[in-house]
Amino acid sequence: MSLIESLPRVRSLRLPRADGLIQWIVPLVIVVVWQVACVSGFVPARVLPAPSDVALAGWKLLLSGELARNIWVSFWRASVGFVIGGGIGFAFGLMNGLSQLSSKLTDTTLQMVRNIPHLALIPLVILWFGIDESAKLFLVALGVFFPIYLNTLHGIRTVDPQLIEMGRIYGMTDGELFRRVIFPGALPSIFVGVRFALGIMWLTLIVAETIAASSGLGYMAMQAREFMLIDVVVLSILIYALLGKLADSASRVLERLTLSWHPAFQKH
């Protein structure tokens, strides 16, 4: 009896503390193995520089202010593109989820556009916008639009009709019904869309910046390639990985805050 009672308590005490660290074990091991492989000469430095060299290159760029400026430019492009594309996607998702007419009018068109890989538009976008900021924002916004549109639409359409009927019986106005029933019901699905969109956001930005840009992380990597600065190339790739992880964590925190009612997010 005492064993059975104490077992779950021990586990619940140990797990949360270990949880935060456990996910970093694998990346840490990779970095250590990588360092050892480079220092021992197993991997030549012109193929892959040691992590310490990459860190050193990062430190130099940080001191010159170049790194911060490029990260800021990329971050700004990513977030502005995300807000524009995500905002429009969310608006269309709401409209088409709530109104039959709007859905009939636009859904087919949007589904057709969705099937064009947005990166295939790069030549056209360069012709339209040059290598200006608007080209990158356009591509990011386009890439982010669809996951958010589709998941918002899906979320709204799959809200339990019994709950909607309940809301109507209890005299909710359309506004209240949206605020208290439809939107919270669609939120888990919207978050799925946001996390998909964050992935696409970085992907699009990397491609756009390496092809047509005069600043930003992708540009920094391409410039470094010109001068055979392989440590800077690797550094840019690692920063992309970190920024991606950061965006994902931010959306998780937001998810946990807004979906605390959901059994999957409840703390025990």
Partner: protein, 280 residues
Amino acid sequence: MQEALRFLLPDAEPVERTDFLEQARLARRGPEVSRGLPLTIRGVRKSFGANEVLRGIDLHIPAGQFVAIVGRSGCGKSTLLRLIAGLETIDAGTISFGEHARSEDVRVMFQEPRLLPWARVLSNVEVGLGRDRASSNAQIRAEKALTEVGLDDKRDQWPAVLSGGQKQRVALARALVSDPRVLAFDEPLGALDALTRISMQRLLERVWHDQAFTAILVTHDVSEAVALADRVLVIEHGRIAHDVAVDIPRPRRRGSADLAALEGSILRELLLSADETSDL
């Protein structure tokens, strides 16, 4: 509170707690006073496509009566309830309440609790206030309704952590909070286990007794119908086939011979008509 004080008086006569509560309830309710609305249904028909579900229902329910509607599945009993609650439109005929009924006066409780998973228990109950949600005493009324169903300690919980029976009690509190004058139950206990069912039946009987609304209970469980209702209606082929008065005094003892006999006779009629249709 008062009741506790009375028990402490040394010279008070020893009173059984349950009897005392019963007397208190009777005193509170007063004789022949009912807040419920009477209900008159005339010639109501309803079809879905080619399928005529209700083929002319005529029915009068006096104010404050507890009516149970039983019948085999697909007989139209739930449709009748949805028509009374205004959830479907009537093809022909009329349904009228004795006086003008506001939407808050008629409430429905479904088989599923239909709680908003993203709202705490108390906010879920507040939903039941309808247009009074924004009023200043909304929270007090919701708390009162939760106390009524014995869940005042769960007010800040998410519905996901409640058991099936507790969720149904929250749904009941939500239906009660607007002080409805007609309460329609669509198999509210159908999804509960046997023991929870019995305690929920007692709860339903108690709130009906306390608040004196007109109660219409759709159920497939004949024993539940005879245990709770003043009157049992049997619906067959879209019409009222039997109208049985249950004259057994309350509080009724579950499993008593009177109830069992009545249940048996109603079940026999239901089974008899089932045999007829299977012969066709």
